[in-house]
């Protein structure tokens, strides 16, 4: 009986330490989120901070262009409410690879071997106190990416976000 009670109190003692560690982690992250959000570097609605309902969540949109004979044709303009995009200091700094995979699944005819597809990423600024706020919204380009599908189903992605360039390949088919 005493052994069982000791065991319980021992497990509770260890749990208590774990709880304090988790509380420290929680406070640490909340303060970090608060700092970066206040600097305009993090999405207030995401990433486990508690700044939702303090300002409208950022709305991103993409415009997709496909290479044609000597020109580019705009294929699609789509809004994204939630973030596949990582924006820091008003510049796109990362896009999830899942986003590029989804592009292929949404529009299987979009990617063609030998034809370049360009995506322009934009952030929408919605005025809060205008009566017709949708008409007064403005867009800012925050980066672009060029996609090239190869015959083996691998897509090369060249991202250009503000002054940063990155190139990588993903398997899409």
């Amino acid at each position: 009986m005493n052994d069982a009670m000791n065991k319980i109190s021992q497990s509770e003692r260890i749990m208590k330490k774990l709880c304090w560690a988790l509380i420290a982690l929680h406070v640490g992250w909340v303060c970090t989120h608060m700092y970066f959000h206040h600097k305009g570097a993090l999405n207030p609605w995401k990433l486990g901070g508690y700044a939702m309902y303090t300002k409208p969540g950022p709305v991103y949109s993409i415009r997709t262009f496909k290479e044609q004979e000597n020109s580019e044709e705009m294929i699609r303009s789509k809004r994204y409410f939630y973030s596949h995009f990582f924006v820091t200091g008003g510049c796109l700094s990362g896009v999830s690879k899942r986003f590029y995979k989804k592009i292929d699944i949404f529009q299987p005819q979009l990617l063609e071997v030998g034809k370049t597809v360009k995506i322009v990423f934009r952030e929408r600024n919605l005025p809060m106190l205008e009566k017709d706020r949708r008409e007064h919204s403005t867009y800012k380009n925050i980066g672009q990416a060029t996609l090239n599908l190869q015959e083996n189903g691998i897509m090369t992605v060249e991202e250009e976000f503000c002054d940063k360039k990155r190139e990588f390949s993903i398997h899409v088919r």
Binding site: C19, G48, G49, Y53
Partner: protein
């Protein structure tokens, strides 16, 4: 184990249960709130070939069902890992309340037998206190909340659940409405007050009611019933409430409303 508990279950919907039972049911509801976030978009996982998400959601659902039948034991860690995977991998688009559910359930993943302990209750109490203080501070520093701009923005959005906000303006245009400025200030003060009460371990019934009213009120206007279900279930643990079954029926109702969305639920009722 659940069957055994139901044999000793109370006679009416209003009779309090014992605390162990209340804590266990609350944990189930926090777990199901986290799980529902993934079940509702299961079709998307299949459409977008996110088979890892499909697999982890199925494992989480099975582990959850096991914990319903056998109780919350050492196998609860399987549920925790399965639900943590999509939350952490897709952290950019994960909702904040999924992170909160993860924080709240983390100690139980390793120490499930301490579910009824004061250590777990005070952990939940402090975690909710942190949420309240952090949310109030974010409102304070955002520059858009204390001056009423954000509530005015919400009130002019036109959704049915946002109508109580415009109703408080008594015919005034929402953009010029002073009442929304006062409500903004009141809600920040209220949130700080309950955050401090939680952090100083105040378990008075008035503190519980103040928190409950805030959570339910805000949840109604903002259509975030999943968050509110997690909060109400966590409050039961934090205040060590011997909650009657009607409380859990209420939480189940919140999750059901969240499943369909409060706006479409209200539209259905009003038609």
């Amino acid at each position: 184990m659940l069957a055994m508990n139901f044999k000793t279950a109370p006679q009416t919907f209003l009779t309090p249960t014992n605390y162990e039972m209340s804590a266990r049911l609350s944990v189930y509801f926090i777990a199901i709130a986290a799980l529902l976030e993934y079940i509702v978009i299961f079709d998307d996982f299949i459409t977008f070939k996110q088979y890892d998400y499909c697999a982890f959601t199925i494992i989480a659902a099975m582990a959850f069902l096991r914990s319903l039948v056998k109780g919350i034991d050492k196998w609860f860690i399987i549920f925790f890992i399965a639900i943590a995977y999509p939350i952490l991998v897709d952290f950019r688009s994960t909702a904040n309340h999924s992170f909160l559910a993860l924080y709240l359930l983390a100690p139980l993943a390793l120490f499930p037998s301490n579910i009824g302990s004061e250590t777990f209750s005070s952990y939940v109490r402090r975690s909710l206190g942190i949420v309240m203080i952090a949310a109030a501070t974010q409102k304070l520093i955002s520059g858009n909340f204390l001056n009423g701009h954000f509530l005015k923005y919400l009130a002019s959005g036109g959704a049915i659940n946002e109508m109580p906000l415009s109703f408080l303006c008594f015919g005034q245009s929402t953009i010029e409405c002073d009442a929304l400025v006062y409500i903004s200030i009141l809600s920040v003060v209220w949130q700080y007050a309950i955050g401090i009460l939680l952090l100083i371990n105040c378990t008075h019934i008035l503190a519980f009611l103040a928190e409950l009213i805030f959570v339910l009120g805000v949840g109604f206007v903002t259509d975030e019933m999943n968050f509110q279900a997690i909060n109400v279930a966590a409050l039961i643990i934090a205040f060590r409430v011997k909650a009657p079954p009607i409380a859990f029926i209420g939480i189940a109702a919140l999750l059901t409303i969240d499943f369909f969305g409060i706006e479409s639920t209200l539209e259905g009722w009003l038609q």
